[in-house]
């Protein structure tokens, strides 16, 4: 799954980059690029989500909680990013 994320984002980024360089379809290029970046950034997050559900299924509550905390920290960074944007 991690591999799928890297491959998807790579293709998206690669295509977006090519389009940007040739100066055509700017809007599409932008979409591909930003989309690619978002997929790339999301890949570890999804991995954490998968871990959470795995530990929950195994009824390993300690680690379910731990991975949940990691998820919260990741989400907090997204919140921080948005907050900063508004202040500046």
């Amino acid at each position: 799954m991690l591999r799928a994320g890297v491959i998807t984002s790579s293709i998206s980024l690669g295509a977006g980059l090519l389009l940007t360089l040739t100066g055509t379809a700017a809007a599409l290029a932008d979409l591909l690029l930003h989309g690619g970046v978002i997929v790339l950034l999301a890949t570890p997050v999804i991995r954490v989500l998968v871990s959470i559900s795995e530990y929950a299924q195994q009824r390993d509550w300690k680690f379910t909680l731990l991975t949940l905390v990691v998820l919260v920290e990741l989400l907090a960074s997204a919140v921080a990013a948005l907050l900063f944007n508004r202040r500046l």
Binding site: L2, V6, S10, L41, P44, R47, F63
Partner: protein, 277 residues
């Protein structure tokens, strides 16, 4: 903000490839080399350099973790536990990076590069740690089958608090400077926490993906990431690390490490001087 031209994209692609192959050969992320190149060589603002570098770290980490060798070696529980500390450090670092001046970050980078070089030199002779296969690894320890020795390696994790603190610091530096942080985690895990070298490297590779994400998200949200150039870098690094792993088996690690330690010292001085100027 730099303008995206084909020439620039190509340069970054190549830089990424070099960084990626060095990273694959040495077990470092490419960030240590990519950030100075972008900041000193191409005159990118350090935040832009860090942002691009962090995305390559994520890509590398995800690729390595998905690999078949990774699956067995990665100690997921340990990684996740340390992630709590690392992600926290990374979050703090990302926020702090927005508030620190370029020169401060450059000086910090200079200091850290020197430390990395020293660590690398001190570990030139590192070897695996082997334990009795029937031993109990405990909740956090690991057990994996090692091809070269044809046996099962079991290990326990010791001195967890040390690992947690080191992970927090590594996460902090990761977001501040745009590097992976593995150079702290691997030696700490290996030397102080009883984790065998390859498991430490694999677990660290797994962890830095999450770490870099927290930092990268903040940079991205701040609009400091130039997606097109990040694209060039990511693709370059992937090519580099693939070829590094494919053809790097025969390279003499020892000479390479010596060479790289020298390069890192050089980088350290340059970055520090730039920060002071």
């Amino acid at each position: 903000m730099p303008v995206v031209t084909p020439a620039l994209a190509l340069i970054i692609f190549v830089a990424g490839a070099v960084a990626g192959s060095l990273g694959a050969l040495l077990g470092l992320g490419g960030g240590i080399f990519l950030v100075p190149f972008l900041n000193l060589g191409l005159r990118f603002p350090i935040t832009a350099a860090a942002a691009i570098s962090l995305t390559t770290v994520i890509a590398t980490s995800s690729s390595v973790s998905a690999g078949r060798a990774g699956k067995q070696l990665i100690n997921i529980r340990l990684g996740m536990l340390l992630e709590v500390a690392t992600a926290g450090g990374s979050l703090l670092g990302g926020v702090t990076a927005q508030m620190l001046a370029q020169s401060t970050l450059q000086k910090l980078f200079g200091v850290i590069s020197a430390i990395v070089a020293v660590i690398m030199l001190s570990r030139l002779q590192r070897r695996n740690v082997m334990l009795d296969p029937s031993a109990d690894p405990g909740i956090l320890g690991g057990r994996y089958y090692e091809d070269e020795s044809g046996g099962t390696v079991t290990y326990r994790v010791k001195r967890l608090p040390v690992a947690l603190v080191a992970s927090f610091i590594a996460g902090n530096l990761s977001s501040l400077l745009g590097i992976g942080g593995g150079f702290i985690k691997v030696p700490v895990l290996n030397a102080w926490c009883g984790v065998p070298m390859r498991a430490a490297a694999a677990t660290s590779a797994f962890m830095i993906g999450v770490t870099a994400t927290a930092g990268a998200v903040i940079y991205y949200g701040q609009g400091q990431l130039v997606p097109a150039l990040a694209a060039a870098a990511v693709l370059g690094v992937q090519l580099g690390s693939w070829s590094g792993m494919r053809f790097g088996q025969r390279a003499s690690a020892r000479w390479l490490k010596l060479l790289l330690a020298i390069v890192l010292f050089l980088i350290s001085v340059l970055m520090f001087m730039r920060g002071v100027a």
